[in-house]
Symmetry: C3
Subunit: 159 residues, 3 copies
Amino acid sequence: MSKKTIIVFSGDYDKVMAAFIIANGALAMDDEVAMFFTFWGISALRKPKAPTGIAAGKSLLQKAFSSMMAKGPERLGLSKMNFLGAGPALMKKVMKAENAMTVAQLIDSARELGVKMTVCGMSMDILGIKMEELIDGLELSGVAAMLGDAEESDVTLFI
Amino acid sequence: MSKKTIIVFSGDYDKVMAAFIIANGALAMDDEVAMFFTFWGISALRKPKAPTGIAAGKSLLQKAFSSMMAKGPERLGLSKMNFLGAGPALMKKVMKAENAMTVAQLIDSARELGVKMTVCGMSMDILGIKMEELIDGLELSGVAAMLGDAEESDVTLFI
Amino acid sequence: MSKKTIIVFSGDYDKVMAAFIIANGALAMDDEVAMFFTFWGISALRKPKAPTGIAAGKSLLQKAFSSMMAKGPERLGLSKMNFLGAGPALMKKVMKAENAMTVAQLIDSARELGVKMTVCGMSMDILGIKMEELIDGLELSGVAAMLGDAEESDVTLFI
């Protein structure tokens, strides 16, 4: 039993999927897993529907950035062969046929297995995303805490 | 003498080149190197010519995905300045002038130096790629085995 | 006190920013940090104005590649939402409003805190970039030296 740290920077469906497949694999082997979501990776944690009044404290530019970021894992694009959004839909069809879990399901599974998920506060400020927009049970964090997790880990990945 | 694990997720010529340059560097220093190819990274291992009858067990969508993926390392695009495929050709010209090895040559070199190359079975199912389409001597694998390699390594990279 | 190694392959503003935020965070905790710049990551180290006569020893293709690469950190594009260069400008506006440091400032800070920055000689040859085009105080290096740093580190990231 050891620890893994995964920095999720990317907001691409395929890369976020890879991050959670690795996380689930490690958790299944009784490893401790800390995931630190920063920048575009945060979009994977957004609720599909923004709570009302969420735009209140945002500047115009923050509204612009956050409105263009995907809302939740199933709205993310692919890093390759995205085809204006058709790629993810097609990939999910094959995944279903192959009994592979969607990213939303992988997130649920990781949480059931006890993953620690933290979000980068500085990225949230820059991109204009608020904690209420994200799924529950996340911890606001920063680079120092992430490095603390990484130092306790035998494997740290930047995805 | 220690061990390195490299997860090759990207199918970009420049990133796959970076992965193999690091692998060759480590192997030259008598390190053990395990490379785990997943998602787009698998395209670097495809044979330029698909064996006949390969499409037999593929669904329509799997055929679509696999037919759009590059066949072999020398058909990969660049992550930047690809220019619809002109970028890699130009880069290879400079590489030749500078006596730098192509990715195909780097793969050969790594294999001669004893690299362990495994492929992610789940990615192959989703992308509709079969073992017969890939170069010889690869091992079908999964996240658990990759994590086993990573735990034995002092450096693990996600590329 | 421990050591971190960061391989900066990407030349995207957001990814280079992430690399330097992590570096500064580790340096602030008295860690040793080695950054190895390779491929597109080297553009973050270029001086905004190329010294005269710099094109002298470059081949036509090297001139082409190097002329298309960004000159310095503040000319880099975003990996997402670049909008032909408008994205970085907008992001910098929000960053300023949020009191976040620019990449140029993060580089200065990391250097004051004693970061070790090395550049990949092979990438420089391929991309046609010369040492005189880069900011001062960098060390020309290669994969073997980078792996040496990585082996002494408890965290090594490929960004």
